[in-house]
């Protein structure tokens, strides 16, 4: 049976690990290499690294992390932030990335998804979507450039297009819930799920293990990503899984 996944998300800013609230209010939470080693030992299923330096024009910070982390973490590594072209992807894969996460570039050029998927395989292309609730429209607005630029396309149309162009997974992030630790945006996740048949990783809002239980039970997602929950306090993926296993949710057995 395919297991559900729990993925710590590590946000990078100038080679430090940071945490945000609603994509703002950066807080330094440590050294990404050290934290990755801890996640490797505490049963994380994958690791995600996102460079959130606004206007990031280089993948260099990702490469320096990758260099160190790939020597000690023998699990899937996904990286994104500042990817500008196919050469960047080639470099990331050659240096040890298993998946790349693309966001802003997709809105400018959907064919980029197609090209990446053709060259490196669909399974290695994760499209990340940052969404914010629009109460007036009773819908979601999409944002690129780390939440800075509002896009015109609707969530539904964007998801459909990404799947058609060959995205392998969707990483859906709620800007409203980011860092708030009040629970995932279940409605947002379900809206993405209704419009595609791809594995979905949901991010933004986990404040306790019950929030994770809710999200796994009320949606059809493949994975949950957490930042704050693991950054603050002494929670880790092992504890999350032992809690969730009480509710018939299955995680990997490696012991």
């Amino acid at each position: 049976m395919l297991k559900k996944r729990i993925i710590p998300v590590q946000l990078l800013l100038k080679n430090r690990l940071v945490k945000t609230k609603k994509f703002d209010k950066f807080l330094d939470v440590g050294n990404p290499i050290k934290s990755s080693k801890i996640y490797n030992d505490s049963d994380a299923d994958e690791l995600i690294f996102l460079n959130i330096e606004r206007g990031a024009s280089t993948i260099d910070p990702l490469l320096s992390i990758l260099e160190e982390v790939s020597k000690v973490c023998f699990m899937p590594l996904a990286l994104g932030g500042g990817i500008k072209n196919i050469d960047d992807l080639k470099t990331l894969f050659r240096r040890g990335a298993d998946k790349v996460i693309i966001n802003s570039i997709v809105y400018k050029n959907y064919d980029f998804v197609e090209e990446a998927s053709f060259l490196f395989g669909k399974q290695s292309v994760v499209v990340s979507i940052d969404a914010k609730e629009n109460l007036q429209k009773n819908d979601y607005d999409l944002y690129s450039e780390c939440g800075k630029k509002k896009e015109i396309i609707s969530l539904q149309e964007h998801v459909v297009r990404c799947e058609k162009k060959g995205a392998g997974e969707i990483f859906i992030n709620s800007i409203d819930q980011d860092g708030m630790m009040k629970g995932y945006d279940i409605e947002l996740i379900n809206k993405v799920a209704e419009n595609c048949s791809l594995p979905i990783i949901a991010c933004g809002g986990a404040g306790n293990f019950n929030h994770m239980k809710e999200a796994f039970e009320q949606t059809n997602i493949s994975a949950l990503a957490c930042g704050s929950l693991f950054n603050f306090g002494d929670n880790n993926p092992i504890r999350a899984k032992s809690f969730l296993q009480n509710y018939n949710l299955n995680f990997k057995i490696v012991k």
Binding site: K71, A97, D98, G168, E169
Partner: protein, 205 residues
């Protein structure tokens, strides 16, 4: 010395880092440079079956792998590398494979509650013992990322099965050849153990 075959778009770093971590010496080479100076060959791979075979054939790298296999030294295929061992593949095909283990590669069948690619941790049921599986418990989880699977002509060559909508072959073996649909180099502790067992496997007399 272990040869890791470089097939252009693969993530070679994770397999080479894993061998480095386990203290085995390796070289990353093109298939056409594969000679009998190497003791073991690993064919990693993520990508497209037809494209990978085309790349291999361009400089007769396919012939070199088959020659190496004829010496009875150990060969490991991982993911696409495992699929290339088959007789033929359906992905942008049909296209002939290396034909080292008779069978064909076809897309996994699913229903509307399953997605492709099959990504994530899934358990492997061992069908028999094998030296490369030494010390590894039955039905633990390994990391998978794929949309196609290996259909064997002869079930005797099946070593491990995994369930995703239906059972598929997650480990195949024939003589000196072993193929893993999952990624040992990405499967933490027990994945590393598989790689270690493989690198210590002596098949040729």
């Amino acid at each position: 010395m272990i040869a890791i075959i470089d097939n252009n778009y693969s993530n070679l770093k994770s397999i080479s880092n894993a061998l480095g971590f386990l203290n085995f010496s390796y070289e990353i080479i093109k298939a056409e440079d594969l000679t009998d100076k190497y003791s073991h060959t690993i064919i990693p791979g993520v990508g497209n079956f037809s494209k990978a075979m085309k790349d291999l054939k361009k400089n007769k790298g396919d012939k070199k792998i088959i020659q190496f296999s004829n010496t009875k030294k150990p060969i490991m295929g991982i993911c696409l590398g495992m699929q290339l061992l088959a007789s033929s593949g359906d992905e942008s095909g049909p296209v002939n494979g290396l034909n080292l283990i008779p069978g064909f590669i076809k897309k996994i069948s699913i229903d509307k509650n399953h997605f492709l690619p099959h990504i994530g941790w899934n358990s492997v049921k061992f069908l028999k013992d094998h030296i490369v599986l030494d010390g590894i418990k039955d039905e633990i989880d390994f990391y998978f990322v794929h949309s196609y699977s290996f259909n064997l002509e002869n079930e005797d060559f099946a070593l491990g099965k995994t369930f995703y909508y239906e059972n598929f072959n997650s480990i195949v073996t024939k003589g000196n050849i072993i193929g893993f649909q999952f990624h040992p180099e990405k499967s933490q502790k027990y994945g590393l153990r598989i790689l270690k067992n493989f690198c210590n496997w002596k098949t040729a007399c």
